[in-house]
Amino acid sequence: MPNETLNHIVDAFPIDRDALQNEDEPGRVEIIKEFSLNTSTHGIPGIARSRSIPNRLYWSISLIAFAGIMVYFITTAILAYFEYPTQTSITTIVEWPQAFPAVTICNYSPIRYDRFIHDFLNYTNSLNLTNKTSTDDFTRDQAMYVYNFLIDKMNRNESITEYLYSLDSMLIYGDFNGLSCTATNFTWFLSATHGLCYTFNAKLKNTVNDGIVHASTNGGLGIFQIQLYAHQHQYVPYLTFGK
């Protein structure tokens, strides 16, 4: 209301000018009281409405107490969520057809004595590591240098495959569910302790059905049989782990 109008009203009616102005521009306390009486919260209007101190005290205490309990429950729930609890469930399922597992085989010994001894002696002699020239009696001291020799060979980007036991030389007989198996059914990799290792039925890239055969292939019971030749007489002494 503009001041001019207000003055007119005051002139016309016998009322206090301040009372009119107050109603027009509510103070901060008024705003809070208005809010407290109308908010949808239960406790706050109770405090605002109360006319005696015990009543006000009762409402205030119960509001604070229950708000505290509420905060406690909410934080507990949030903390429980961020702990990401899990539970373990165990189920038994029947699966058919079942993939046959992968089978890996390697020779105990990583390298063949007959193929590697000449190159090895050349290496040890060129570095004056041992003074042996005979290919017959291989000593413990010589065995110390076998891996150094292989590392040196690899560092010069030369192949060591010729020293290793290939599956072609080991596989005498292979059969899976009555179907014959050859070295081509295996994938290979190198192991530091066993040299060449071969895996039957490994999951393959870019192959039909991932290259995996089922246990029930050819109507069989999932029986994989292989007969291998270990080349025991070609083992490099002191180099084969396992007893």
């Binding site: 085989i105 994938t187 290792c197 084969t240």
Partner: protein, 104 residues
Amino acid sequence: MIGFFLYCYLFGEGSGIVAMIHDNARVPSVEQEGLLLGPGQHHRISYVKKRSTFLPEPYTTCSGEASARMQLMLDQYNGTDYGYSQVDCYYACLHAYMYVFSFC
């Protein structure tokens, strides 16, 4: 890799074949889990399949994805499609550590 195993396994004198049955998509850790089969004998190995499925992060610390560095190791297994496993990750880490400190 070679340097590390050298100190552990040198001077053994067994003979035969190392064999291992494993999941089709798992790296065969023959050095750790391989069975040592002596020559001149018939060996029969049977298996039971158990499958564990874990929830991803943040429920567990598990991951099914091999990192780019670990993929380099998996690529050494010619043509295979092997997946992540914690043990392999541990070995890849060990090997990387050895290279950093020039053990071999």
